[in-house]
């Protein structure tokens, strides 16, 4: 009985409820002294701080810097990853030649590159973009490589029998086939691009959300740290929703669970 009634309440309501319970618990904990506000701050304080930063306009300069860095590293990383992925997947020789080196570079934790990039590219946005690119590039590269290598050979043969040249094969079969793989990596690579540039800002910059967080941390301002995190989470969620819509449009030909049941008639 209770199970069937529970099913009638939309999941979104339960999700909001969970968030509310957690936040209220946090707030209550801070009020009663179970959680020291100095270490844990308070949701109401964090919210007030976010509001102050947004309404006061102080946040925009930093948000713009972070978004610009993340966008640039995303664009450069995706283009590089797609081009190299295609090239190395289609050319056996190049693929085999680069294989060990790509593994070596990819095995490196990117954070250790941050100081090097600071030296090479300075405190401005380009050291953060470089860090973001090293993350995005490999995610997209491996997915593109996989997507092109694993394209269904029957589809390729069918297109060739229908008269496809090598160029037409790339356009009609390989790119669309690789797109599925590339898209499945976009969510991850956008998230990682933002993480990478924030880490870059955190380690040395004069602008950006990461800079705000590190400044707040420097004066033990936990409210400021949480406010920066909240804003960052909001940005990542908003961008994720956008990618979702784009993906749903571009991959509209793909079977979704709801379609599978529909089947068809012969």
């Amino acid at each position: 009985m209770s199970a069937s009634r529970r099913n009638q309440v939309p999941m979104a309501v339960w999700q909001v409820l969970l968030g509310a319970v957690l936040l209220l618990g946090w707030e209550a904990g801070a009020k009663t002294g179970v959680l020291q506000p100095f270490f844990f701050s308070r949701p109401s304080d964090v919210l007030a701080r976010v509001w102050k930063m947004v309404a006061g306009g102080g946040i925009w300069e930093h948000l713009a810097a972070t978004v610009a860095e993340a966008s640039l590293s995303f664009l450069i990383g995706v283009s590089g990853g797609v081009v190299f992925g295609f090239l190395l997947a289609r050319n056996r020789f190049l693929g085999d030649l680069f294989d060990p080196y790509i593994r070596i570079v990819n095995a490196l934790p990117r954070v250790v590159l941050a100081p090097i990039f600071l030296l090479w590219f300075g405190l401005g946005i380009w050291s953060k973009v470089a860090l973001g690119v090293t993350v995005v590039f490999f995610i997209v590269f491996f997915n593109t490589f996989q997507g092109v290598r694993e394209v269904d050979p029957v589809m390729v043969n069918n297109a060739r029998m229908l008269g496809a040249s090598e160029r037409q094969l790339i356009r009609h079969v390989l790119i669309p086939s690789a797109l599925t793989w590339i898209f499945s990596s976009l969510h991850i690579s956008i998230g990682f691009a933002i993480i990478a540039v924030v880490v870059g800002e955190y380690l040395g910059s004069s602008r950006g959300i990461g800079y705000l967080i590190s400044q707040a941390e420097g004066v033990f301002d936990t409210t400021g740290v949480f406010a920066g995190m909240a804003i960052l989470a909001g940005v990542v969620l908003a961008v994720g929703a956008l990618v979702d819509r784009l993906e749903r449009y571009l991959l509209r030909w793909k079977a979704r669970d709801s379609d599978a049941a529909r089947g068809g008639v012969s």
Partner: protein, 265 residues
Amino acid sequence: MNGSPGGTAIRFQGVTKRFPGYTAVQNISLEAREGSFLSVVGPSGCGKSTLLNMAAGLTQPSEGAVEIFGKPLTGINASAGYMFQQDALLPWKTVRGNILLGPELRGADAGQAEQSAREWIRRTGLEGFADRYPHQLSGGMRKRVAMAQTWIVNPDIVLMDEPFGALDVHTRLRMEGEILALWAGSRKTVMFVTHDLEEAIALSDEVAVLSAGPASRLVGVYQVGLERPRNLIDIKTDPRFVEIYRSIWGDLREEVLKSYERIQA
């Protein structure tokens, strides 16, 4: 492009195909007369598809040669269409997009291509489904799209690799009827690969039997003298059909048993 009627459309001359580690087919000589329907049967894994791929130019023979209308085949066979066993439709193109693929790749006039696509959508009974994607269609309808996709470019030779293997019996019977109807008016040469002897006899003018693989040889070529048009529903109880079936099965049976033994060994 066609020679005189009754000429040879496809000729395998002493064709052998080796893959690393094993030989698929061994010294096969076989001809498909122009405008005829030739089936190739044999136990699973006997290299039927390899033979078809060599006629398509997708694989090259290790020894021997393939001739198409009297000319040695190098590269892709441009006068052949190929219906694959597996789904070969592009999932990101609609039914119309898939049917238009051939004309588009060959640089046909867009208006004319559109018109002939409409015609093929009608002929294959796909009206109302032109804007669907393959995943929204049943197996039988996907085969119809594949059929239209292959035939719209009007190839002189149609190669088919167990195209209906994955369909249920009734859909399969309907599709076989549709293929025969399409072929009847076309004077195209068909090379049809199947493991189903009944299907082969019902559809073909000639049935070629391959021995169990690896290193399959040609066991024999049998004429099917049944008149056309054929009624595929009743033909299997026709005494002459049964007689042809018995004589071919006598030879094929041994090969099937051999391939069983090899699998169990």
